[in-house]
Symmetry: C2
């Protein structure tokens, strides 16, 4: 049986950006400069994005009233891939009443003393809520893999645990949308340099970013493994070409809007006891 | 010594809406239909609000980079006073990255098994964060007071605990802004009736709202006691006339913008080790 929170079937254009489980497709098969949602030029794309963010704002209000679903949006991607920018660009017109973002950092001592999904489970959305994860539990099958801290068997076990965890969420009404923001190595170099050179951006730069950059190839391989193991029917990955910031936001906003539309949201029926009531 | 997070001295117009501690001023001294921030007509006020929310968005980005402060915005007010609408109207143009809202409900069994500030303390903002409380710890000196569950000595003790708690927050860099959204009894009757009659709003109506409405006078008295006991120099209350939704948002946005401006925010200085670094 399909899970309650299973997202609607993707449109044809989107299927091309949804890795097929087990098909051994890799990130190298996706062009980070592609623009599958573009209307032809940047001005039109920006106008379309404005319309989409307004639609998402209206749908969020209905989503909150409906109370049957929860929405978890997972944003993954290398440094400078645009996770912060996507949150601002897609949800920056929506009331903080119904949209919560969680930025995941290196686990604390207490968090490390538990299983890796313990801290994650505490922050998943409640009924009517939209939660956006800025990084996520997927860091736990990326960083330790690249750093050689896990055996292949341990990695495979974690992937299974993630799939079971996400199935629990979808079976209980959570729609899980996972976006991998995909930029090229040259684009990252330019963005890191911009952070160093711009006084309003250098607070975002950490010397550790350069270490991670040197592990570029290892991270791409680790992402390939993630896509192949965890792009499930109930919690699919969408690879988002992210060299263009405007188009990145346009594509994520399109998927979010289409997903919310596909749920058939409605205002709850009136409680019969309230019919005809007059306030005095 | 002034607390690190003490808000800047209020402008002259604002002082009139900041109850003086111990001056025994009551809510009845504030006109819920007043418009101290109005530019003369609704269209101008809406345009001004648009400018303010864009300024708050830009300041929030700087606030997050600066990392020296935290901002806690407390919204209190009777049912339909406009707490949700204020969050949407003032922070609806700001990225969920840096603004979090917390809606406080009736305490759970676990929460009731702790002191009344236990759950509150867990959700105060971290460095660079803005947190908006939709209701707050002030419910614990309103509801039990009206329902006669606390002795006057217990109420006074809670007020002292609140003042000490808020002093802890401000001493450690949290700016605390408390807004009491003030509507008249007739305005509330109209808004409750609208919730019953409008199919997109009746999900917000609870029969319990009518019980609370019948205790209107007792709540006004309880609010008076709160204003007199907890409008401290370090965490002042602002009474916001809230019969007009546009003006309510305009006034709250003005205070938030002015407070952020008064902090002298700046991007952190560049780490010397990063000067001249080239990304390869």
């Amino acid at each position: 049986m399909a899970a309650l929170g299973s997202p609607p079937a993707p449109a044809a254009w989107l299927s091309a950006w949804r890795p097929t489980p087990g098909a051994a497709c890799g990130l190298s098969g996706f062009d980070p400069s592609a623009k599958p949602c573009s209307l032809g030029d940047k001005a039109k794309d920006k106008a379309s994005l404005d319309t989409l963010t307004a639609e998402i704002d209206a749908l969020q209000d209905l989503f909150r009233a409906d109370q049957r679903f929860k929405l978890l949006v997972v944003l993954q991607g290398t440094d400078t891939a645009g996770k912060d920018g996507t949150i601002r660009g897609v949800f920056g017109r929506t009331s903080p009443l119904g949209v919560h973002s969680v930025g995941w950092k290196v686990p604390t001592e207490e968090e490390r003393a538990h299983d890796f999904l313990w801290r994650i489970h505490q922050r998943v959305p409640a009924a009517g809520e939209i939660t956006v994860f800025n990084r996520s539990h997927y860091e736990d099958v990326l960083v330790p893999v690249v750093n050689g801290a896990l055996t292949p068997a341990q990695v495979a076990q974690r992937m299974d645990h993630i799939n079971a965890f996400e199935r629990l969420l979808t079976d209980t009404g959570t729609v899980v949308l996972k976006f991998l923001l995909h930029i090229g190595a040259d684009e990252q170099r330019e963005r890191l340099q911009a952070r160093l050179d711009d006084p309003t951006k250098h607070w975002k730069f950490s010397p550790g970013d350069l270490t991670v950059r040197q592990q570029w190839a290892a991270y791409q391989t680790a992402y390939d493994a993630v896509l192949n193991a965890t792009s499930t029917a109930w919690a699919p990955w969408t690879v988002v070409p992210a060299n263009s910031k405007t188009h990145r936001n346009l594509m994520v906003a399109t998927v979010v809007r289409d997903t919310l539309l596909g749920l058939g949201l409605r205002y709850p029926p009136k409680d019969p006891s309230l019919v005809g009531l007059r306030v005095t």
